[in-house]
């Protein structure tokens, strides 16, 4: 690839709006031109099996004859198995919803989980929960697959031999009988659970010499240290994003990851619509490309080592006393000054957000800046910490490892985390662990840590166990199980109860024992209300005004070094979702890679180092080295490489083991998020990466239209004029009128963050299969909705645009007339129906679809695995080999609403049918409803001046339309 230099730019040919999807396209390589000429990606539509023509015809003949014979059988016999005693409230055929919460990094998001006859099948957000308001992220959506994961650990083992929970309890109690806890250590992940904290405190009273260590690989230590630098204590920060008119992020991914991100995304984008004037404005300083930064009106990228200088420059410009002596001299000085002026002009209505992975000083400076801007109490709310013990996790883990090595730890209980895999390499955790005589690991999978512990205990999934968890603002949810443990798993609560000895042993009893005295009002009623609502009323932490005790000062800037940046993987996080096929196959939002991680470089740096996509390089740091494939990411800061944690697992399961490279091997306990001095060596090998990026390219047709507020005010037609006008509506066919309901969708591209929650939600709702890396390489992924990612501008600092693409439900659907068997036809309400039982698999429809949103079951992708069958939505057909499939607008939900409305004698109300993608969307970017109703949300959106149809010039009359992305640039920076 030779597009890093200025001379190379001259030969580039982005489309009329300057948009491009990949570097190959921008550079116009012959390979890319050849790819464009193909209807489908290479080999996507070819028969590659080594079956000759004769053998093929023989097989065809035989299967035809056999298929004919099967139709001569009598109906298959089935049994109906009713309950012996039916449970209360359960109506067969109707789903029930239970409130619970999903925790990541110990922070909860409220959920409503759909259950069919006792099987949890789909996760929705809990509208009453402040961190969700009805939406979820991709992790929460996909967490239900982990419940049914056939590779989950199923038995208690001791030294690899299957044994029982009882045997474990006996071994543990005899070991600890009469002990004061000397040498006993409990290692957990970050604990916000009030009950777990209460149990641990009780244990500490019983075993006064025991220790408790918390460790999360994606730790928020820097946040806590930054707070100590500023206030002398740990303070939790809650943002009121909806009040902010100007937001500056310092390497923060706060809209797409971290505490409260689902809520923040909703609040942020609520102020990105024309209707909600004035728009907010986002400035992003990124140290590696983030989704938040991709939404920014103005973005600069710097290396993480330069972030501190940027933060000081902001502090200096905004009158932070500690930064009085700062004079900014970095290349971004003018940009910072302009952003700072904007911040200053919006005192009390602005917000500076530091990223969790940024050094403590950046957090301290962000506190100082927000304080100087008068944002505290307005857009920034301080509360007590939500963690039960906001300790410095890395320090306590380091101390634990030293103790283990010194032989001072006799009994180690590891609850949930996987430190053998995730601990920084310099601690040599595994080696130290071997010195502990009695090691116990409670986990969902028999993973790397389990393999080095004598005792492995299967953990109950959060949908199987009682628990509680706090949200970003402290709101507590009591998690209730949806199903009895599939494999006799136990929760951390139950394991600690064994240690405690007396007292309740069952998760339910433990939970009730804790809450008995802590719920206000009559207990039974309050308990049931809390479970029903999914929130315990009044548990949000009250605002607090911490004393300002700054203990930081400018330090000498270190010498510039080539930098390696560590980040959690955007889809499999710290590695815990490695065996989750949905998340493995969910294209990573910016790279569109599936099933692998890669070393990400900027185009200029890659060119300087002579690297190309898929080259395998060796990254060496501190005596460790890994081999990683290269992926060039436009917008990446120069002279640095980003690697994502979570891959290269050895004992994750069938889907997750042995793929990608383990970036933890390069991580040091003193430099968790970035480090200098990485050495890069070429190996001369290459590894094919399964990116969904090149598939189904649209050439120069301005799929994503972008306008500024000013442009739109000046000329309301500006968006419509960016593409060819739709063809005149002349037809020889009689006009189609959909009386009653006319379903349609509108997607606000200005609010689409590109996070992929919709993709995961669609997969869960519609029983979409996972196909695997080989099939993705052939372009055969089965997602009914994909998020296309385009770039505009130069490759070093491009604008990133996202566009969710699903079946457009064209009124003049090109797929319909070419189907020889009428398997895709229009419904009375204007849906483009796909009838699986008619489909014979000619694939003509997909060939004729200009949006390429149809997906063919080339192989038997849907799984017959017994536990995975439990996961299927009973209201959607499980497709088998040889049929085409595509988005149905969640017709099962439309039908359910239509039946309900007829039974109630009321028409379907606006907002009553919520598609899976719409429901999951954190930023509310999707509107769905009846276009015949002029006051429905979707009708209003489609009447907006920002509305346009994709490829409408082909006269497909798409029912799904897009609202152009809105920018709100700072005029001062726009000119420059």
């Amino acid at each position: 690839m030779s597009n890093g230099s200025d001379t190379a730019h001259e030969s580039l040919h982005p489309n009329r709006l300057g948009q491009w999807r990949s570097l190959d396209e921008l550079a116009g390589t012959p390979e890319f031109e050849a790819l464009l000429q193909r209807e489908f990606p290479e080999r996507a539509a070819e028969w590659l099996d080594p079956v000759g023509r004769r053998a093929f015809l023989q097989l065809m003949g035989a299967s035809l004859a056999l298929a004919g014979l099967t139709s001569c059988s009598s109906p298959p016999s089935h049994t109906i198995v009713p309950y012996a005693k039916a449970p209360e409230d359960l109506v067969p055929g109707k789903p029930l919803f239970y409130a619970t919460a999903f925790a990541q990094g110990g922070i909860g998001t409220g959920l409503l989980v759909e259950s069919h006859m006792g099987r949890p099948t789909k996760i929705e957000g809990n509208p009453q929960h402040p961190a969700s308001l009805g939406a979820t992220d991709a992790f929460a959506q996909a967490s239900i697959l982990s419940l049914y994961d056939p590779d989950r650990s199923q038995t208690v083992t001791n030294g690899g031999q299957i044994t029982t929970w009882k045997a474990f309890v006996a071994a543990l109690t005899s070991r600890l009988a009469g002990s004061s806890g000397a040498g006993l250590c409990i290692l957990t992940e970050t604990v916000t659970s009030p009950t777990l904290a209460w149990q641990i405190r009780q244990l500490m009273a019983k075993y006064p010499q025991a220790t408790w260590v918390q460790y999360d690989a994606i730790s928020r230590d820097a946040v806590r240290q930054g707070s100590r630098l500023a206030f002398g204590e740990v303070i939790n920060t809650v943002y009121r994003v909806e009040r902010a008119e100007v937001v500056v992020t310092l390497g923060a991914e706060f809209l797409a990851a971290g505490p409260g991100h689902v809520r923040y995304a909703r609040d942020f984008f609520a102020r990105r619509r024309v209707e909600a004037a004035p728009l907010n404005r986002l400035y992003a300083v990124d140290s590696t490309p983030t989704l938040t930064g991709a939404m920014a009106d103005h973005r600069v990228t710097v290396r993480q080592q330069d972030m501190e200088a940027i933060a000081w420059a902001f502090a200096g410009a905004l009158g932070v006393p500690e930064a009085a002596a700062i004079s900014a001299s970095m290349p971004q000085a003018a940009w910072v000054a302009a952003a700072a002026r904007d911040l200053k002009a919006h005192q009390g209505a602005s917000l500076v957000v530091p990223g969790d992975e940024q050094p403590p000083i950046v957090h301290a400076l962000a506190h100082a800046i927000n304080r100087a801007l008068g944002n505290v109490g307005q857009t920034v709310i301080y509360t007590d910490p939500i963690e039960a013990d906001p300790a410095d996790q890395m320090a306590s883990l380091t101390a634990l490892v030293a103790n283990m090595r010194a032989g001072q730890v006799q009994t180690l209980l590891i609850l949930g985390s996987n430190p053998v895999y995730t601990a920084p390499a310099d601690l040599r955790f595994a080696e130290a662990l071997d010195k502990v005589p009695f090691r116990v690991h409670l986990s969902l999978e028999a993973d790397e840590t389990s393999a080095r512990c004598q005792w492995h205990l299967p953990e109950a999934h959060y949908l199987e166990a009682w628990g509680d968890v706090r949200a970003y603002d402290g709101t507590t949810t009591i998690q209730q199980p949806l199903i009895a443990p599939l494999y006799d798993g136990h929760s951390a609560h139950e394991l600690l109860a064994v240690l405690q000895g007396d007292g309740p042993q069952d998760g339910y009893d433990i939970m009730r024992a804790y809450w008995q005295t802590r719920l206000s009002g009559e207990f039974e009623r309050a308990w049931r209300t809390a479970l029903h609502d999914g929130v315990v009323g009044g548990t949000a932490l009250p605002p607090k005004t911490p004393g300002w005790k700054p203990s930081f000062a400018p330090a000498a800037q270190p010498a510039q070094v080539f930098e390696i940046i560590f980040r959690p993987d955007p889809t499999i996080w710290d590695g815990r979702f490695a065996n989750n096929g949905w998340l493995q196959e969910l294209p990573k939002p910016l790279t569109k890679l599936t099933w692998d991680n890669a070393a990400l470089f900027s185009p200029a740096t890659a060119e300087r180092l002579g690297l190309q996509n898929e080259d395998v390089i060796e990254l060496a740091l501190g005596g460790h080295s890994v081999q990683a494939p290269v992926w060039i990411l436009p917008g990446h800061p120069p002279d640095s490489v980003t690697v994502h944690l979570g891959y290269g697992r050895t004992r994750a399961g069938r889907a997750g083991s042995g793929i990608g490279f383990n970036a933890y091997l390069l991580r040091k306990s003193t430099a968790l998020w970035s480090a200098g001095g990485v050495e890069i060596k070429k190996t001369g090998r290459a590894l094919q990466l399964a990116s969904t990026q090149h598939h189904q390219t649209m050439q120069g047709r301005n799929p994503v239209r972008v306008g500024t507020v000013e442009e739109l005010k000046k000329d309301p037609h500006v968006i419509a004029e960016m593409g060819e006008a739709p063809a005149k509506d002349e037809t020889l066919y009689p006009p189609v009128t959909n009386e009653g309901y006319r379903w349609g969708m509108a997607i606000d591209l200005g609010a689409c963050l590109g996070c992929g929650a919709c993709v995961a939600a669609c997969q869960a709702e519609n029983n979409s299969p996972v196909v695997g890396k080989e099939q993705v390489l052939l372009g055969r992924e089965m997602h009914w909705i994909r998020v296309d990612r385009y770039y505009a501008g130069g490759p070093d600092a491009p604008e990133t645009l996202h566009q969710p693409l699903l079946c457009q439900q064209c009124e003049n659907a090109p797929c319909e007339p070419v189907c020889p068997v009428g398997a895709t036809v229009h419904s009375q309400e204007g849906l483009n129906d796909m009838v699986y039982n008619r489909c014979v698999g000619t694939r003509y429809c997909s060939n004729n679809c200009p949006y390429k949103v149809r997906h063919f079951n080339f192989l038997q992708y849907s799984s017959d695995q017994p536990t995975l069958r439990l996961l299927n939505n009973p209201n959607v057909t499980v497709r088998s080999r040889g049929v085409m499939e595509k988005c149905t607008y969640c017709v099962q939900r439309i039908n359910a609403a239509r039946i309900r409305s007829k039974e109630d004698g009321q028409p379907i109300k606006d907002g009553e049918v919520v598609t899976a993608c719409q429901g999951a969307c954190p930023s509310q970017a999707i509107a769905f409803g009846n276009l015949n109703d002029p006051v429905s949300k979707v009708s209003k959106w489609q009447a907006s001046a920002r509305n346009y149809g994709l490829l409408a010039e082909l006269n497909t009359r798409p029912r799904t339309t897009y609202l152009a992305r809105l920018r709100n640039p700072n005029p001062e920076l726009e000119k420059a």
């Binding site: 059988s73 309950y83 005693k85 067969p92 109707k94 129906d833």
Partner: protein, 216 residues
């Protein structure tokens, strides 16, 4: 040059050509007869059950309403098969020693359900909803026949798509007043064409023939 074939071959050829028509027609008739036969559709074949439960006795003789057992028929897609508890509501008092009912008592004792044999089976890609049909005035007997006269249950209709569409295209031929839905003995009146059309308007019944109404 001598004739290769004897003259009689001509007759044979004529017979064969003529016969082929009958042969093809015959095969066609045979296949269609097989497909619509009780063997293939299950129509009219009583299904053996683990307990020889008689709808005739419980409905016609005892007078139970359909909904006493099929509780969710008005609320859900699935009409509901009663839990063992429902049987025991009466059979804790009646016929408590009948050997025929031992599987029921055993189920109640052990909590292990009775595996009833399914009579009406739809393909997995068909989604039928009882509640809306009942609500719109389609009676039980329209599809299930005179259940009150069956000792063991059998299918009276093929459940072929063609059969569904008969009603989905012309609901006025089958609709009855809502008050008669659970009446086993209801027969269409002589003026069903008039009454039915009136009910279709009154109940706002639409002719739903889009594929996605049943297939999704």
């Amino acid at each position: 040059m001598t004739q290769l074939f004897h003259r009689s071959t001509n007759t044979l050829a004529r017979v064969t050509l003529f016969g082929a028509v009958f042969l093809v027609a015959g095969i066609g008739w045979g296949v269609s007869a097989l497909l619509t036969s009780p063997y293939a559709s299950g129509v009219g074949v009583p299904v053996e059950q683990p307990v020889p439960f008689s709808h005739k006795h419980h409905v016609a003789d005892v007078g139970l309403d359909c909904r006493y057992c099929h509780t969710s028929v008005e609320r859900s897609s699935f009409a509901g098969i009663p839990p063992t508890k429902t049987c025991m509501n009466c059979h804790a008092q009646l016929f408590t020693d009948a050997p025929m009912l031992e599987p029921v008592r055993a189920s109640y004792r052990t909590g292990k359900p009775i595996p009833w044999a399914r009579v009406h089976t739809l393909a997995d890609f068909v989604y039928f909803d009882h509640s809306i049909h009942v609500k719109q005035g389609i009676g039980c007997s329209t599809c299930h026949g005179r259940v009150d006269q069956m000792a063991l249950i059998w299918r009276v209709n093929t459940l072929f798509m063609e059969w569904c569409l008969e009603c989905h295209r012309h609901p006025e031929r089958f609709v009855r007043p809502r008050s008669e839905v659970f009446n086993m003995a209801w027969e269409p009146p002589a003026d069903q064409a008039v009454v039915g059309a009136k009910l279709v308007t009154e109940y706002k019944i639409q002719t739903q023939t889009s594929c996605s109404i049943c297939h999704r």
